[in-house]
């Protein structure tokens, strides 16, 4: 702490400011002289979520293509893609573990939980049998959920 010689007296305006600042510091639990209500931007999360978006989107595009022609529809069967869902589950778990380890990051963890739930819904759809319209609609929804995580992560960047 940088101690200096206290001034002999405070004017009423300065006194009010000091009281206000003391209250603010106490209420906000300021330790580094700035308030921080939410986790800092995490570039590793951005990279992992972007990779996940690429992986899921490529998978859905392949399914759409396979479902375009009846001859290829067999390639879209759920049984042929179980490994993909396992892989995605591992990726999501890694993202969640990292997000949970960061302080004040509960909201991002909630977003990851929602993305996982949406992907689980899609896996159920796949298990029951897909058509092209379902995949196209689901692709838009999954992109929206992933983009929301990225949007929030970029919002955490605090500029000077």
């Amino acid at each position: 702490m940088n101690l200096r010689q206290p001034q002999a007296s405070l004017g009423p305006r300065r006194f009010s400011l000091v009281v206000l600042a003391l209250f603010a510091a106490a209420a906000l639990g300021l330790s580094a002289c700035t308030a921080e209500f939410i986790a800092q931007h995490d570039e590793a999360t951005v990279r992992a979520v972007t990779d996940l978006l690429r992986k899921v989107d490529s998978f859905l595009i392949k399914l759409e293509r396979a479902l375009e022609t009846p001859a290829d529809a067999d390639d879209a069967r759920y049984e042929k893609h179980v490994a993909f869902y396992d892989e995605i589950r591992v990726d999501l778990n890694l993202i969640r573990v990292r997000a949970k380890a960061l302080p004040r990051n509960e909201r991002t963890v909630r977003q990851i939980d929602d993305l996982e739930a949406a992907l689980k819904n899609f896996e159920d759809l796949h298990r029951q049998g897909l058509n092209r319209q379902v995949v196209t609609t689901a692709r838009g929804i999954i992109s929206q959920a992933i983009e929301a995580i990225l949007k929030a992560e970029f919002a955490k960047r605090r500029g000077p």
Binding site: F15, A35, F122
Partner: protein
């Protein structure tokens, strides 16, 4: 079954969200408008596909569940953006009085 109008649906969502977020609404309005519009169009598309028999009731239900989770993720993003904006406003206010307060106290508080 009446058709869902995506425009009205998006407006209803916007009205509800802007009422809750009030002061922070200008910070998130652009993003929220765009995402609510997307969600409303998806919901209308699911209803259309169900009406013409392109998807089953169970498929419609699962797609709606997916959309619900995506919207929750969007709303959480909006919440995060609002909190960051509030944090920046508080830090700007503290920054504005930092010199005066520290000088008045004679030590570095802020």
């Amino acid at each position: 079954m009446p058709d869902i109008d995506p425009g009205s649906l998006a407006n209803e969502m916007l009205k509800a969200a802007s009422g809750v977020l009030r002061d922070r609404w200008p910070d998130v309005k652009g993003y929220a408008e765009m995402e609510f519009k997307k969600a409303a169009e998806t919901i209308a598309a699911i209803q259309r596909m169900r009406l013409v028999g392109e998807i089953t009731e169970e498929q419609a239900r699962l797609l709606m569940e997916m959309q619900k989770h995506a919207m929750r993720s969007v709303m959480t993003a909006v919440e995060i953006m609002s909190v960051v904006a509030a944090e920046q406003a508080i830090n700007a206010a503290i920054g504005a009085v930092r010199k005066t307060v520290n000088t008045a106290l004679g030590f570095v508080l802020l």
